[in-house]
């Protein structure tokens, strides 16, 4: 502001001086800091709470138990088909192979058998890694890599975590990553296009053409 505000009649000049002087500068700073902290809290703490809705999986699943029971690691259930396509989340037909009858007292297993297997219905899993329809991902092209590179150590988890669904996009929070700031520590923390591009750039020298990952 300029010092030439002197023809403003209803503001006494001393008050004016004070307003820009020692007394109120503190208030100015205070208000600035309040605004700053308030918005930082909003952005970092409140915003993610508002952005994501919490959803529970239809039944809980213990990867660890299954991992112990199978011989072929992740690929025992998440396998490649003969044509090189990836089976992804197992269908009920796969579950039936072992769970035609409940093998334990576990309420989740009982629910699986009674509600889904008995009725021939698929379990409506909420898939943490689900990408938009326009995304093409070839598991076969990445088969040399460890599953954990992108999916993390989910294979040894004992429970399925709460599925946090982005209210705006409808996709899981795991795509953007748990850190709302988008910072990642591990390769599996985020699954955005930039993360694909980053690795492609590093490994192949280019981010690749559009069609490599889009359909």
């Amino acid at each position: 502001m300029s010092a030439s505000d002197d023809n403003v009649k209803d503001v006494p000049s001393d008050n004016h001086e004070e307003g820009h002087g020692n007394g109120s500068i503190g208030f100015v700073i205070l208000f600035f800091v309040v605004g700053l902290i308030g918005s930082l809290l909003t952005g970092w703490v409140l915003f993610p709470k508002l952005l994501y809705s919490q959803k529970e999986q239809p039944i809980d699943f213990n990867h660890q138990i299954h991992m112990d029971a199978v011989s072929d690691g992740c690929e025992s259930c998440h396998f490649f088909r003969e044509d090189g396509s990836f089976s992804g989340v197992p269908t009920i037909a796969q579950c039936i192979e072992c769970h035609e009858e409940a093998q334990t007292e576990d309420p989740n297993e009982i629910k699986l058998v009674q509600e889904y297997i008995a009725n021939g219905e698929e379990v409506p899993w909420l898939v943490y890694a689900r990408q938009p329809d326009c995304v093409f991902f070839s598991h076969a092209a990445h088969k040399e890599m460890d599953c954990t590179t992108c999916h993390g150590d989910i294979g040894h988890s004992e429970n399925l975590k709460t599925y946090e669904e982005n209210r705006l996009t409808g996709y899981s929070r795991d795509i953007w990553g748990h850190n709302i700031g988008g910072f990642k520590k591990n390769t599996w923390d985020r699954m955005k296009m930039d993360d694909c591009a980053e690795c492609h750039e590093r490994e192949t020298g280019s981010k690749g053409p559009c069609f490599q990952c889009h359909k």
Binding site: M1, S2, S4, D5, D6, N7, V8
Partner: protein, 414 residues
Amino acid sequence: MDSALIPKGVKRCSFPQFSIGILIVGAVLLWGVYAMLLCWFKGLNQTGMNDSYGFALWIWADLAVIALGGGAFFTGLLRYIIGKDELKNIINFAVVIGFICYSSALLILGIDVGQPIRSWFIFWHVNVHSMLAEVAFCLSIYFSVLAIEFVPLILEQKQIDEIPFFHNLAHNMHEIMAVFAATGAFLSCFHQGSLGGVAGVLFGRPFAFREHLLVWPWTFFLFTWSAAAYGPCFTILLTKIMEGITGKKLVKDNVIDLLAKISGWMIASYMVAKLVDTWYWATVTAPSKGLTFMDFYSDGSGLYTIWIIIAELFIGGIVPAIILTNKSWRANKALLLIAIILAAVGVCLNRWVMVLQVMAHPVLPFEGWFAYMPSWQEVATTILPVAYGIILASLAYRYLPVFPQERELNPVED
């Protein structure tokens, strides 16, 4: 009724009279808004465009208003950088026109894209090689510059001006306006040029394609040059219309004469460049693609025949250039008026040709010319900015000291 808002020392029509005028134009505006909403909610099937006519009336309107609005940057350049001081008496109006033209262009672009809610991808996922990206960037930045240039004028409004802060702000902004004018001129060179480049880079379209200089096709330079040349004519034309409507002289003849003279010489020099370009294109570029000059003017419907290039280059170019460069002719009010009208039509025709004829000309040898008829929705949305422009210009004229010489030329008798 609104006398408190009207600038000092000038006379304005009565408020009811003004309101009725605004209401009438407002009705047209609403019609345009309705059409705009139709396009947004129902999609571009509301238009007469098709797969062969992806660019049509709207893109023409965009190019035309930006060329016509070119008066703002060029007058600014002349006033603030070259130092043609007389032009301060018309620069305000030039800025208002520029603002209207550029905001209209942005609005039309917002309707023209198939996915308006994604239109910001042009910035978010920009491809810097695209002429259209260049257009979008320069256009939006220059629009901000125009808005800044418009601000001091608004601040000079009687009531606002009474607030010392705004008064001083306006004053200070005037001081640094040269910086904005320079920025504006710089940006304008690029977006006007890149609008020309939009057509000129199309090497799949021999009608549009032009040889390149550096990374830009000739049309890049021709568009910038023509906008600078023809823009001021449009500023003069609108001033004349304003004078006609208000029944008052608003700008002194020497100001108009200066601007007209500069415009005349600019058009003349542009015409030289354009004719050389046309000649080279017709005799070298086109034949290298297996096409003769007349192939481009063989439209069976009669629209794109040789008359269109005669109209553009001769009637809309050479004729106004001759009139405007001749001192005694441009002093003749009727001839001046004819010249500026022809010039405005000429530049619009050029933009039309560079958009619609490009689309109409068959590229595949076994195709015919493509026909296009705009739908009412397209026409309405194209008229929408005109209505909006009239309203904004009227408001500006009524409440802002747009013409500094008005008071002097039209002393109010008490």
